[in-house]
């Protein structure tokens, strides 16, 4: 365990030095703040549900941004260290490959969690500072949104590692990562909506739709945030589709956890079989 933490600490330090932490925190904070103030326009400054609106817009932003940041940090983790030659030396040390992978995962996740909590936290703080009243339910939904955003980040860090453990060079890893991002963030939903529109509810049952939604971590995240909390779902017009789902919060969280653990497990397996 000690070795895992040593590796994690080194990753965090590197991310701080390389300004990954700074860049991602600033990016998330800037977008969160602008969404907060633009997003509160419809409800006005006295809107009691200001935070709920922010949750809807922020979680839509998260779906695009967090997977991108996560893949950017992670796609390089294994294949990049191998190309640079640092992996060769590291693995000559008394540390197992799964420990290296887990250490990197914890380090990268910590960076992502820090950026998300601080960036989004600033948005909430700004709302409070400008005098919006925030009730308890909205606050709980906001905390859940931050937590699930970190979890979504974990999913894509794990997916990035899997790509990184499988390919031969960094360029390929970057290409595949961008492809996966496009697929999971954009194409999958468009295809799904197109299919539903064509099908007109004849063949695709609710169960099949649920299964298809669970097959994409970004949809799981969307469902969790847009339907999980009564306050929020009132604002989430886009989630009309989601209203028909019967997936509980627990199932959605489990799906996100599995989406993290399964790619991470396969990444560890692929990494342990690789020869340097």
């Amino acid at each position: 365990m000690n070795a895992v933490l040593t590796v994690a600490r080194k990753e965090i330090r590197q991310a701080v030095r390389n300004r990954w932490v700074l860049a991602s925190t600033l990016l998330l904070a800037a977008l969160a703040l602008s969404l907060t103030f633009l997003g509160s326009a419809p409800t006005g400054t006295v809107g009691v549900r200001a935070l709920d609106v922010v949750i809807v817009s922020l979680s839509s932003l998260t779906i695009f941004l967090i997977p991108l940041i996560a893949l950017l940090i992670s796609h390089d983790a294994i294949v990049g260290d191998m190309e640079r030659g640092t992996m060769l030396l590291l693995l000559s040390y008394p540390v197992a490959r799964w420990q290296v992978l887990l250490g990197k995962f914890l380090g990268h996740l910590a960076v992502l969690a820090f950026a998300t909590c601080l960036g989004y936290g600033l948005a909430a703080a700004a709302l409070v500072a400008t005098g919006s009243r925030i009730d308890h339910d909205s606050f709980a939904a906001f905390v859940a949104m931050i937590g699930s955003s970190v979890l979504l980040g974990a999913v894509f860090v794990a997916i990035g590692y899997l790509v990184s453990a499988l390919v031969r060079d960094r360029g390929t890893a970057a290409g595949i990562s961008i492809g996966l991002w496009l697929l999971l963030v954009l194409i999958y939903d468009i295809a799904l909506l197109g299919m539903l529109a064509l099908d007109q509810g004849r063949n695709i049952s609710a169960t099949a739709l649920n299964a298809m939604l669970l097959f994409n971590p970004t949809d799981v995240y969307r469902l969790f945030n847009l339907t999980g909390f009564a306050n929020v779902s009132a604002f989430a017009g886009v989630a009309g589709l989601a209203q028909s789902t019967s997936l509980s919060v627990q199932v959605l969280l489990l799906a996100l956890t599995l989406w993290t653990l399964v790619p991470l497990g396969f990444a560890a397996l692929a990494f342990s079989r690789r020869e340097l």
Binding site: N2, T6, K10, T86, L88, S92, Y93, P94
Partner: protein
Amino acid sequence: MNATVRIANVTKRYGHLKALTDVSFDLGEGEMVALIGHNGAGKTTLMKLMLGLIRPTGGSIEVLGDNPAAGEFVGRRQLGYLPENVSFDAALTGCETQTFYARLKREPVAKALELIDAVGLGAAATRRVSTYSKGMRQRLGLAQALIGRPRVLLLDEPTTGLDPELRQTFYEVIQRLAAGGTTVLLSSHALTELEERAGRVIIMNRGIKVADGSIERLRNIARLPTRIRLKVAGLAPDEVPSWLPASAPCRRLNGHIVEIDAAPERKIELLRCATAAGTALEDLDVMAPNLDELYAHFLRQAEGTP
């Protein structure tokens, strides 16, 4: 001799490429062994096998009682490795890098940091590795390999990029370690450097071990002639000194220098002839075959050409 590394009938293939074929040797405590061979002869592959970074296609490897490929890495705490073209995470400083590696080996950090000074990096220790020159990175590589007084040191081309002064220090350090019982295996192209220092030489060619032994022993096996150079006064340009035994192969170099190739058992006889009275001998050099020549000889032999 207690063997710290045992390599038995090891074969390693990458697809169709045979990187190593049936290589066997033991390395003992306190031995300083030079591993020499062309690029691609299998030197780095051997080291990677000893570290468990790759698995052998056949045969068995044991390092400090562990099978390195089985994921047993208790032995690795007592193992130091300096890869060829060592590289570090550029964003960290020398000190941070050394601290990181010391923690992974569970060795005291303060002692590991002393090594930074020992390799002459003291002034640059708080600078980022990205600002280091090739020689400085090599020093840092050396410092990390020495963490925790390793019992086996694997050094892949350790002296490339080091200035002569540091080379000297480097050899002093590893000779001290070897004297304390550390097995040192080092691969190098700088054969003249190794000649006086390595107690044993292993020559590899295309994945096959072609020679293994002390330099003395390799000289005996190779039976390369010792070259004797004589400077003789008053010889005509094509003349060969009349007092030389007719059978001795000799040739004229520039001016009055005659070079004789002496077979090992005739060396003394020839020297007696040369130093006998009335030969007008002005100077004399005796050159035993050096490691370069031995290496070339064993490679030629392995390739099956005369």
